[in-house]
Amino acid sequence: MNKFIWIILILVAITIGWSFILFVYMMSWSPPHHMGMMVGRATVYSQMFSWLRGTFFLIVLIVTITLIIWYIHDKKKK
């Protein structure tokens, strides 16, 4: 049980990490705004929030999948 909590924590941390890195990568190499990076803080914030929403759903997906695997694993043991 302990093990799965660790696995979930690790997966979440890695997902957030990659998502942050990808966000910066996207902002600098193919910015969604026509003005590129010269958009001011408000626009960057809103970009970030919509990106984070995507990440959040991804995390929810990953956590559910892990929980399902955990559940199956637990059942097999019994």
Binding site: I10, A13, I14, G17, F20, V24, M37, M38, R41, V44
Partner: protein, 462 residues
């Protein structure tokens, strides 16, 4: 359990590596920030300067109200603003409303005849400012302003992106470092468990550690240690059993015979003599055993000092052979002692060496049922060799490496008959080692055994 996590080596390693990593990442982030923000400012100031210079050139060529208006028109609807003054710094025209801060930069330029940046401090002022004189200031000045709030916004985005990227990198790095350090220290935890079990008496531990690094080597050593401990445990029990057996037999004899003598049942003088002789023999056996034990414990506690003196080996070996001849003869064995002439004396502890020879020759006699025991004494420039050969039962090949161990005796059943503790060869090896010599054994089962002792001739070496 929860508290223990902070005490773990993996945790400490993780914190250490993450800390180092973090420091360098912060350094890198700060450097990137410095490089890019300064590049921005440089780029913008240069741009401002060129544009100001162009305006002033245009005005220099054709100075009129129309040209002035044209310049103002060019600067409308862009981020930059322009103000043009007459030679006495009175504002003639401007593209955007003139603020107080703008006015503070005007009029500082009386002596200036070059294009130049008046302010590039974007943190504390609202504008980056450049000035270009028209005809060296005779016709007036062109002031260019770039609002720093735009810049601040850009720098903020830069900072923000660096920050976000750093957080991402830190998250991934910390996870990786944590995983790696826990993987790296896992074998250590296993070893800890194993040694704890060993302390409780489960000596044999299986540790499957892959690789050949220091940690793998350590775990191998722990395994060998456990096997060795198990072996000692086993041999100690055997040893105690055989010691008590060895002691009981002669002591029973001694008690029995002395009882008879005390009761005065035997009057015949010859008969009494015989009984006393048995008692004497058995006492010798006990003494031999106790001496062996004593030697062994001395060797093990390192209180074993050698009393070296120049010794004639021929005499020393001769004495041993002589004292053992009756034993050999009793078994019907021939004992042959060959030696070259003029063996020069060598530096050794005669008392200990005598014991070495005694043990080896005694073994040869003990483990030979028919044939002979041959002792050869040879010497060349550097070494003295003592070779003891017998035609006895020999030693199985798999046992040869172990016969030097304490208490090791080949095959209990065959050893029981002959008696002994298995200390003899251990003492031989240790004493020879203390003399810087070498001893080895060659043996073929049922054919015979050959023991070679090599001693260095120190007189030659010196």
């Amino acid at each position: 359990m929860r508290k223990m996590i902070f005490n773990r080596i993996s945790f400490k390693l993780g914190i250490l590596f993450s800390g180092i990593f973090l420091i360098f990442l912060l350094l890198l982030g700060y450097m990137l920030y410095g490089v890019f923000s300064n590049l921005f400012i440089d780029y913008i100031s240069q741009e401002l300067l060129t544009r100001g210079a162009n305006h002033s050139k245009a005005l220099e060529e054709y100075y009129s109200q129309a040209t002035l208006e044209h310049v103002i028109l060019m600067e409308e609807n862009v981020v930059t603003s322009v103000i043009i003054t007459d030679p006495y710094n009175n504002i003639l025209v401007y593209s955007d409303p003139v603020t107080n801060e703008m006015k503070r930069f005007i009029g500082r330029t009386n002596q200036i005849s070059n294009n130049q940046i008046l302010n590039r401090n974007w943190n504390n002022y609202q504008y980056i400012v450049s000035v270009s004189p028209i005809k060296d200031g005779d016709l007036g000045y062109v002031y260019m302003f770039y609002p720093t709030n735009v810049l601040k916004e850009m720098v903020f985005v830069l900072k923000f992106l660096i920050f976000v990227a750093s957080i991402g990198i830190i998250l991934i790095a910390v996870v990786l470092i944590a995983l790696l350090s826990s993987i790296m220290t896992k074998p250590l935890l296993k070893m800890k468990e194993a040694t704890l079990k060993m302390a409780k008496g489960e000596y044999i531990q299986k540790l499957n550690v892959k690789g050949d690094d220091e940690i793998a080597q350590l775990s191998k050593s722990i395994q060998t240690l456990g096997e060795q401990l198990q072996y000692f445990e086993d041999t100690r029990n055997d040893f105690l059993a055989s010691i008590s057996h060895e002691l009981r037999t002669p002591l029973t004899y001694i008690k029995g015979y002395s009882d008879v003598l005390i009761k005065g049942l035997i009057m015949d003088r010859g008969e009494q003599q015989k009984y006393l002789k048995v008692i004497n023999e058995e006492t010798k056996r006990v003494i031999h055993l106790v001496n062996d034990l004593f030697e062994m414990s001395k060797i093990q506690t390192d209180h074993f000092l050698l009393n070296k003196e120049l010794t004639d080996l021929t005499t020393l070996l001769g004495n041993v052979v002589q004292s053992l001849t009756p034993v050999a003869e009793k078994k019907g064995l021939k004992i042959i002692f060959n030696h070259v002439k003029n063996i020069s004396p060598i530096n050794l502890d005669p008392h200990r060496m005598e014991q070495v020879f005694y043990n080896v020759i005694e073994n040869a006699i003990k483990y030979t049922n028919q044939g002979h025991v041959k002792i050869n004494l040879l010497q060349d420039e550097t070494t003295t060799k003592i070779i003891v050969e017998d035609t006895g039962i020999g030693i199985p090949e798999k046992d040869i490496p172990r016969i030097w161990d304490r208490f090791y005796r080949v095959e209990k059943s065959r050893a029981r008959k002959t008696g002994g503790t298995g200390l003899g060869l251990y003492i031989v090896k240790e004493i020879v080692r203390l003399h810087d010599g070498e001893v080895y054994i060659e043996s073929v089962e049922c054919k015979g055994t050959k023991v070679t002792i090599m001693l260095r001739r120190e007189d030659v070496i010196k």
